[in-house]
């Protein structure tokens, strides 16, 4: 927070060389983000979860599938922080290990979503005409299919590995990004700096990726943060339904495995549920913070 105070813009003339660093867009961006406390909290939770997912297994060196005690122990009983599940596995260890899968699948699925969505949206918005017509009809085709059902079919058709799950989630959820990217491209392609780029000899590829894309990214990055949250929920839903790798521990799988004991041992479902909730919430808050940070209207002059 003290960082924010040190970087308030100095009021020299625009020619001041010092000011170049103060007014650098990225710096301004960080300052704006830091002002949104909810977003900072979201980032904190997110970093905590990612840190746990990355480093805890290296330090603990445990097997989340190992049956360590009696089943369905309450939290704290027998030295197990969050209790044990229906097979006597330590719930805390399972959640820590599950974070890895959840994060990896969520991130990969969001990445696939972005790559497909950006490419299709950029092409449709930039070239317009029949390219736009064809690509948007394809997009609508994917939009009218029920996403969970389609993902289930894809995972069932191919082997239920983590890769398949990530790809399936990506394939069913790129349409929103494509529409958003198309809208941004349609708006930006009429801007004079795009015409200027063409008249100084830039080719289509350069205009799409180096001129329009960087200007189209802010709303798309916000959307990407939300996409990670949605992909995590999706992964949990698929694992809950048993359509994920049975040999890998994940939060959705924990909930699915323990759903029969909901009334006897509610903590076995509550704790993984809270983990999912916190992760998705943190992504949402980060998304909100990014919106604010990208919005120049909120920056003080």
């Amino acid at each position: 927070m003290s960082d924010a105070k040190n970087t308030t813009p100095s009021n020299g003339s625009p020619g001041d060389v010092d000011e170049i660093f103060v007014e650098h867009p990225f710096r301004q961006f960080v300052v704006m983000y830091m002002r949104n406390y909810a977003a900072v909290a979201g980032l904190f939770v997110f970093v905590l979860i990612v840190g746990a997912a990355l480093f805890a297994p290296l330090i603990l060196d445990l097997d989340p599938f190992e049956m360590v005690d009696a089943p369905l122990l309450r939290p704290g009983e027998g030295g197990h922080l969050l209790g044990t599940d229906n097979l006597g596995r330590d719930l805390f260890v399972a959640i820590i290990y599950g974070a890895r899968v959840t994060m990896a699948v969520g991130g990969a699925a969001a990445g696939i979503t972005l790559v497909i969505g950006l490419t299709i949206g950029a092409m449709a918005g930039y070239y317009r005409g029949w390219v736009d017509e064809v690509l948007m009809r394809i997009t609508e085709f994917f939009q009218v299919l029920p996403p969970l059902l389609l993902a289930m079919v894809l995972v069932a058709l191919f082997s239920p590995t983590l890769e398949t799950v990530a790809i399936a989630i990506g394939v069913v959820s790129w349409t929103g990004v494509a529409r958003l990217a198309r809208a941004e491209f349609l708006r930006l392609r009429e801007q004079e700096f795009v015409k200027a780029a063409r008249s100084i000899g830039a080719r289509d590829r350069r205009i799409i990726w180096l001129v329009i894309m960087p200007n189209a990214l802010p709303p798309l990055i916000v959307n990407a943060a939300l996409t990670v949250g949605i992909a995590i929920l999706f992964e949990a839903a698929l694992s809950f339904l048993g359509l994920s790798d049975p040999n890998v521990m994940s939060w959705g799988k924990l909930i699915g495995d323990n759903r029969d004991y909901l009334l006897d041992a509610p903590w076995t479902i509550t704790f993984p549920g809270v983990a999912i909730f916190l992760t998705v919430l943190s992504m949402s808050l980060i998304g909100d913070g990014l919106t604010d940070a990208f919005n120049p209207k909120l920056r003080e002059r």
């Binding site: 625009p14 020619g15 060389v17 200027a196 830039a202």
Partner: protein, 338 residues
Amino acid sequence: MSAPDNDVLLDVQHLKVHFQLPRKNIFAKASKVHAVDDVSFQVRRGTTLGIVGESGSGKTTTALAVMRLTPVTDGSMHLGDTDLVALEGEALRKTRSRMQIIFQDPYSSLNPRVRAGAIVREPMDLMNIGAPGDREGLVGELFKKVGLRPEQQALFPHQFSGGQRQRIGVARALATQPELVVCDEPVSALDVAIQAQILNLLRSLQAEFGLTYLFISHDLGVVQYMCDEIAVMYLGQIVEQADRISLFTEPLHPYTWALLSAVPSADPAVRDRADRVRLVGDPPSPIDPPPGCRFAGRCPFAEARCVAETPSLRTIRSGHAVACHLVSDDGVPPQRRR
């Protein structure tokens, strides 16, 4: 080919730019916006041709068509000996270095994510201007030429004022060492004091580099200051074309009169003159315009044949052409009836 023709840098003949509108239903006839409808003009090397007209008259579309930034429906355009309409792909891209454009809005014409120096350097990299090692020096020189300090290269566009941004736009346009510079209302978005600075800059650069300008504006004062020749556009067509002196002293077309009358004046004698032409109403829609003179609906002198026949651009005397039935062949403008 006669000798003066060699002087012509830009030759535009019968240029048409029509935009197809989407059909209202599959049985409806497709409508077209006649943004530019049969426009011809020439710009001599080293001179400035001004195009004036109100909003929607097709000035900017003409400029974009010349730059090949909007599709040309019909007509021919030549830059020197190069046929601009026929060019495609890589040949068109290379030819673009010979013509550059300065845009109206200095806020949207610079990419907000690129530093000022890189904006001016980019055309050199793309068009292979100068040796790669020299380009940094060239950019610095251009900054000085347009009145910016070379140290300001590291700044982003939002750190400059409107006038400074327009200077960056001018530097970018000059970076490819063009012959023709299309100025699309380059000062309309600027304060009056800054306008004068930019206009003077454009004039001194024209003298220094022998540039040829196609200057688009709606401001007659600016055009009078900048241009050697002036074409007046109304609804996609040129209604009068003349050198600066005759256009301002002996305007022939009623629309030109109206434009000149619309110039604000502090002098009561001018302001309250009886022959001031005040236009009422709005220009008709450029979508599928009817035949006849397009100005007829607003013209105080319009007769039956104005609605029936489309007037063509006639040369009344050397260098002065007008498209109006009511101007006599010896150059007597229409009289107010009764």
